[in-house]
Amino acid sequence: FQARSHSGVLSAEAMADHAGHEHHDHSAAAAAGGHVHVAAHAAATTAATLVANATDAIANLAADVVNSDLAHDVSEFLKQLAPPAVVDHSGHGAHGGAHAGHGDHAGHGGDHAMAGHHMMKMWFHGGVEEVILFDWWRTDSCLSLFISCVIIFVMGALYEGVKWFRVYLQMSSERARMHNTSGCGADSSVAKGNGSGGCGGDHVPLRDVTEETNGFGPTSTPPAARRGIRLASGRDTFSWFRLAEAALYALQLVLAYWLMLIVMTYNTWLTIAVIAGAAFGHWLFAAVNILSPSGDRHDSFTTDACH
């Protein structure tokens, strides 16, 4: 009886006491005759109290939601998705001024650690105002955001291109070495997509060659000759080729980390630009995987710090 309506659960106990108290009084007063009438009256009062308490509870809950951080954040998000209005623009001006002051503050001093900036919104949001990687790379309009997206798109494609280029280098140097060992002599024209090469007859599948020169895979080549192969192709620890490879690796790392940091702005447009650029680059430069059977294996060493 007390908890029939679920919204009444909140104050059910108080209700129960009240109802019990009333019921007790009334039933004590009306021993014989108007028992039914009294009971109905009690029930009506109980129901009214129930409704009143339920309404109070709902009102309190609604007030909590409206005043909560969640509602504030949602309304902020919606405001940012809306096209910039006059009111927003004037707000932006004040914000811009405050920002300049903020920069001064960050310049001289740090009583609090990490020169407190306005809170980073660690959730995906729309909006055109972002700081991207550098203090001077700030977007404050649709145009600047769009240009930034184009730049980031190119960065994403470039990242995939660097990965592709490293694979391409590996494959062409492998093929050069393959032809060195089979006695065909150094052949720069070998650096093409096919595996047959200019040596005619002895076509060794690329996969076998890579395992042979792996250094710790099953091989019949004696260690000395293996070492000779390595030196001959300039794959010494500190050869120029190795340094160039390392420079490419460093470039890949830098691009990967910068793209990660851009996604970390949690701006949906910038994130879309990163993904679209990487997708486009991946599509464009996937030719090397299509053309070569051992392209898949090379993915293992084009991985960067995280994946």
Partner: protein, 122 residues
């Protein structure tokens, strides 16, 4: 938290107590980060080496089923190395996320040196 690359020495690195606010401390942080980058490439190399040698030592006539291979030594050890590699990778990512130019350069430099020494050379 910083939102852009900076050279100002005012950072918090990974843990609550690891405040870097002086050049000397920053130099130490950079050295450790550099070392971590080298270790990252080392772990990648070590994983390849150990797994390959474990596979060599396996009986070639065994040809285990996929389920058996799942619990065989090469895969288990390889997984352990993978966990180490992944963890170090995430640590490096978090260090880059401080947006400190010094620390970011240390990460890339350490990984590059590690690549020169331990990187795939086939």
């Amino acid at each position: 938290m910083w939102q852009y690359f900076h050279t100002k020495v005012n950072d918090l690195v990974l843990f609550e107590g690891w405040k870097v606010e002086e050049p000397g401390v920053m130099a130490l942080a950079c050295a450790l980060t550099f070392l971590l980058g080298v270790i990252f490439e080392f772990v990648k190399w070590a994983k390849k080496r150990v797994v390959a040698s474990l596979k060599l030592r396996q009986n070639p006539s065994d040809s285990p089923t996929p389920i058996q291979a799942l619990f065989a030594a090469p895969h288990l050890v390889g997984t352990a190395f993978f966990v180490l590699q992944l963890s170090i990778g995430y640590l490096l990512m978090l260090i880059v996320m401080t947006f400190s130019v010094w620390l970011g350069v240390s990460v890339v430099a350490g990984a590059t040196l590690g690549f020169i020494v331990f990187g795939d050379r086939s």
